[in-house]
Amino acid sequence: MDLLLSTLLSPMVLFFALGLSAALLKSQMTIPEAFAKGLSVYLMMAIGLKGGVEMARSEISLHVWSVFAAGILLSFVLPLLAFTALRLTSKLDRIDAAATAAHYGSISIVTFVAATQVIYAAGLQTSGYMVAVAALMEAPAIMTALLLAQCGQQKPPSVAGSESGELYREVLLNASVVVLVGALAIGWISGESGMERIAPFFVDPFQGVLCLFLLDMGLSAGRGLRQGWRQLDFSALVFGLYMPLISAAIASGIAWVLRMPTADMALLMVLAASASYIAVPAAMRLALPKAKPSIYLTLSLGVTFPFNLAVGIPLYLFIAKLIQG
């Protein structure tokens, strides 16, 4: 209960709530687009650098490789469950269900960043390689979703003007993957001495920048909810709340088998439970343009993101603590 309260009353969640409320109340407040994009690049650089420095401290053992494999496996498998749940319980057609499932197999890096802050506040330390796990979990879900969309259907002709490899470029070389993996490598190469020189920019202001970014996320989530909720039936809306719990439960089982420490188990649960709203929506517009963005973006950004931020993260940490004693 203390964990839940301290998360709910943390500045980052309160700023998110401020943005969400402002958007729902139709406030005209905005954060300039270029500034918001700059903030997201900053956060990904900061978390990548930090993870890289921590990775440089220890060797990449067989255990680390197995966690990487587990992350990729989760990203491949979770869309299967999400797709099945949506097809059984909601009125979404095959294309919309597959596109939505891709979002739930991929990850939200902002949820990951917020979770690391909650975990630090609880006095626990996460492993640097979890940043690499986050990057590895971005893309596989998209492949599964494309297979699900095409399964049993005739292969659609290529879209006019499309070029071979454009989807793979979008999936594997999108800004979040490039910045996250690049910063991880730079942190790993430059190590602690390199990090010390840039710490005043990337470490000290991190929490404040995260609050500013979450204010913008709240605005985006609120606007998405306001405009997109009409597209969702009740069962699809509820899916945005129960799917993260199913994904987190599966991730906790995998983390338990791999004997991951409490903080890393909680982070793997967060990664599995989170839904993408940066990389996957862009990829879906290229790969499945018939899918309705108002459905998958409203669910991932308007329903699952706030749920994870306010309730999910402390819940996953609590369960990880219970499992690991």
């Binding site: 687009e33 879209v159 003007g161 070029e163 709203y277 862009a282 517009r285 290229l286 343009p289 973006l297």
Partner: protein, 102 residues
């Protein structure tokens, strides 16, 4: 003094912009300009630039001025593109000062 040409105006989702530009280039139009679209309304939905971080719902406007033949070459492919992606296309006659540029 002025010379008649055809102006093609395509409003299309940003993610399909490169596909549309490839169609224009392949058809041999001499050039085009892409502008960001701020907001709009259609099919009972409001849309707005800058609504989500992925920018996957942003729209752009592509303008191309050319002779009739390249524009006619473009239309069939553009029709196929707009079967898949969100967008609208229109053409109209315009008058230009320097015909050699188009």
């Amino acid at each position: 003094m002025m010379h008649e040409k055809i102006r093609l105006e395509l409003i299309i989702e940003r993610m399909a912009m490169r596909r549309a530009c490839r169609i224009l280039e392949t058809a041999g139009v001499p050039g085009y300009t892409v502008l960001p679209a701020l907001s709009g309304f259609g099919r009972a939905n409001h849309w707005q630039r800058d609504r989500d971080l992925s920018a996957s719902q942003d729209m752009v406007v592509i303008i191309s001025i050319s002779d009739e033949a390249p524009i006619a070459n473009v239309l069939l492919e553009m029709h196929a593109l707009l079967d898949q992606h969100i967008g609208i296309l229109n053409t109209s006659p315009v008058h230009v000062l320097r015909p050699d540029r188009f």
